[in-house]
Amino acid sequence: MVAESSAGLVLDVEDLGVCYLRARERIEAVRGVSFQVRRGERLAVIGESGAGKSTIANALLGLLPGNAVIDSGVARFGDRDLLAIRSEREWNRIRGGAIAFIPQDPNIALDPVKRVGQQIDETLRLHRRLRDRRELRRRSVELLGQAGLPEAERVYDAFPHQLSGGQRQRVLIAIALGGEPELIIADEPTSGLDVTVQKLVLDALDDLVRSRGLSVLLITHDLAVAAQRTDSVVVLRDGRVVDRGDTVEVVASPRHSYTRRLFEAAPSRSARRLTATPRPAAGHAERDRPQRPDAAHLVTVTGLHKSYVTRGMRSGKTVKRAVREVSFAITEGTTYGLVGESGSGKSTVARIVAGIDRPDCGTIAYRGRDVAHAGRAERRRLHRAVQYVFQNPYSSLDPRLDVAEIVAEPLHGFKIGARGERLDRAAEALVAVGLDTSFLRRKPVELSGGQRQRVAIARAIALRPELIVLDEPTSALDVSVQAQVLRLLVDLQHEFGLTYLFISHDLGVIRLVSDRVGVLHNGALVEEAPVEQIFTGPRQDYTRRLIDAIPAAPRTESSEPSAR
């Protein structure tokens, strides 16, 4: 990073305060936030959900919703105060021009009925007053190239649905560049993308910062992205700045305890498998954790195939082969981690192993008995022994039931115990996941994401199953909550002797909990080995790419002390 004098200030935010009016309440979202962005600087605003990150971005873009009130603050951009702008017309000159915005979800940010090229032309027309069609095309294609898209000509003529998520996000970058911005505000620009694609998009953004001297305000919850891709960082918690400074310094020696907890919670490349918390009063037999060679295979999956058929209006019948020839085995009492990117078929495998879906062909032997083609009674028995934890705890709990009813549902479904006994067992399961019995009468809306996922786990263990299929159980949670839930899972495994099939897109998370890892790519299992072997000697290029995508422990990165 080139050192800049204080004259190179692009954005200077001072004492920003925003609150939302809801019903009769004033909800403070952001309070007393100050920061500066210099020319060529990449500033990360990090924090967990609800910390006020997006509120800051929206305030700086004049995009706050109607019930938001700016209480205080000045945001100097050039010679004007952004927070004082009242007319939409003036905003329209700035937004997309000197300040560009890259939104979070590339799948909804592009107009689906317009070709990509037209959408870039629009910016050039509005902010650069270009009219000539051929000139517009030339400039737009150039922008697409600068945004890191190969085959820019083809992309120019494509509709958004013909592009992948990563390509769309780079189209949005191209649109942002169209107005020749001085500052780009990017709100979680890569959170919907797979790690390998995320790398491409961020590389493109970095190149632009370097070649054009742009400044970037990066809003993210992803500490790894913040640590590797930015020069300085502001840590938000409950709308206030708790830590700030040079990224390298903050990451290496966080001053505030919250920042330290945040970074410790994030899985990194140097992490090791979690072991159960030692509990002195545990009356359970000690189990030696690393697989015993004589331990039996609980589940053996052989030659799994699954295709989905969709009938389109114009395209006719299309067959998508979700899973091809997948075979693996899970040893009793261990965790099998299945890693892959979106569309790799990992959820399909999870649902088949759990017995929710049936495979087209292949067998799933549970304790040696094939259950894939079993009858109703047999499958019902399987469901008792195999439980499933969904990715999204906001949709997997019926909002109308209370926690007691939710946790007791499998007991109810399998007609286990009398009414009072079910309640006792539900309470027991709730205590096992670290929630006290006062939660029994609460409804899901009253719970946080982490508490909801604990309730979902309690529901899964209420039946005392042997295998629990965990489908991305922490990807909807904040990092600190994720760390707690992962620890809980490891403790429960130890306590009840559970076997896990753990699905994740994040190899870093997989490493924390798994004994053996399978890597899925385009529906096929490309590599399969004990967890340490995957990390020390990956045989496939694809596996190596996934490993590279995990954030390295930041302090090991070669980094000269900042020029400032």
């Binding site: 469901h383 499933y388 997997s396 019926d398 549902e409 499998p410 109810h412 399998f414 529901r459 039946l463």
Partner: protein, 307 residues
């Protein structure tokens, strides 16, 4: 002394700190009772004048239906031959018919039969569609195909026509037109419910319940119906006005209760013969029906919006 205490207590009677006196004063256009209600903390969306008016109309009509004797100024069957075909007057606000019966009293007594018939029609449409749409949407397959096509066929024909065909085959009478109108609305209800069930069925919590061994009738009752019922209730509120109108129409056509029992539709119909020199016999009941139906729709759209 006592005056002073009242003045002192006045602010505490409206314990809403954020409604400041100057802001209330700014809403100069609103009447004082609306302002008072607002100050008491009644949600603003409940206080739209048109909605308040609509609710008022419905409350009056329901009271008429419940206690017609209390509200009717005259006996609806008493003939006053000296006073036949009298124009509206303070004594006979809707005038009198060719037999000298007070038309307002007949309208008030008629509200009972008409409202009961409309509610019965709604109950039939609602219940049958739950019995059909819920399993069809959930189980899918052939059952759903059949139900879906049947809905399409019934929706292609106007509901009133279906009711008309039914009532001519099952016979006349208030209950019969209620059944016919109810049957005519089944398709509308089922279509909405089925769509809702298809949406809820895909939820993770439903998959989870099935995986937890819960049998499908329980899944329907416990997880799907409570989440799918909301739009149904909003639709029922809207359909109430339509049902009133259909029942009045069938009764106007003479399929309802035999004379002298008053029904809204037959009242309009009875006055038709005297349209040339006693306009009030058709116009006033007709306008009253329109007012009630519009009020029911107003409340219905409100229910749909707040859902």
């Amino acid at each position: 002394m006592s005056e002073e205490t009242i003045v002192d207590e006045a602010p505490s009677a409206y314990p809403t700190p954020d409604v400041k006196p100057d802001r209330t004063g700014a809403r100069a256009g609103t009447t004082s009772w609306l302002r008072r209600a607002r100050a008491r903390g009644v949600p603003a969306q409940l206080l739209q004048p048109s909605l308040v008016l609509a609710v008022l109309v419905l409350v009056v009509v329901v009271l008429w239906a419940l206690f017609p004797g209390t509200f009717a100024p005259h006996d609806p069957y008493a003939r006053e031959l000296t006073d036949k075909l009298a124009a509206p007057s303070p004594d006979h606000p809707f005038g009198t018919d060719n037999l000298g019966r007070d038309y307002l009293s007949r309208f008030i007594y008629g509200s009972r039969t008409t409202l009961v018939a409309a509610l019965l029609a709604l109950a039939i449409g609602f219940t049958v569609s739950v019995l059909i749409g819920l399993p069809a949407g959930y189980l899918g397959g052939v059952i759903d195909e059949i139900v879906g096509r049947l809905i399409d066929i019934f929706l292609a024909v106007p509901g009133l026509l279906i009711s008309l065909m039914l009532v001519t085959s099952i016979g006349f009478g208030t209950v019969n037109i209620a059944v016919a109108v109810g049957a005519g609305s089944i398709a509308t209800f089922t279509r909405v419910l089925r769509a809702e069930v298809l949406r809820v069925r895909r939820s993770d919590f439903v998959t989870s319940a099935v995986h937890c061994g819960v049998r499908w009738p329980t899944v329907l009752r416990r997880h799907i119906l409570p989440h799918a019922i909301g739009p149904m209730i909003a639709l029922a509120a809207l359909e109430f006005g339509t049902a009133l109108l259909s029942i009045s129409a069938l009764s106007f056509l003479g399929f309802g209760a035999p004379p002298p029992t008053p029904e809204w539709g037959s009242l309009v119909s009875d006055g038709r013969a005297y349209l040339a020199y006693a306009w009030w016999l058709t116009t006033l009941p007709g306008l009253a029906i329109v007012l009630v139906v519009v009020s029911a729709n107003r409340v219905g759209t409100f229910v749909e919006r707040i859902r």
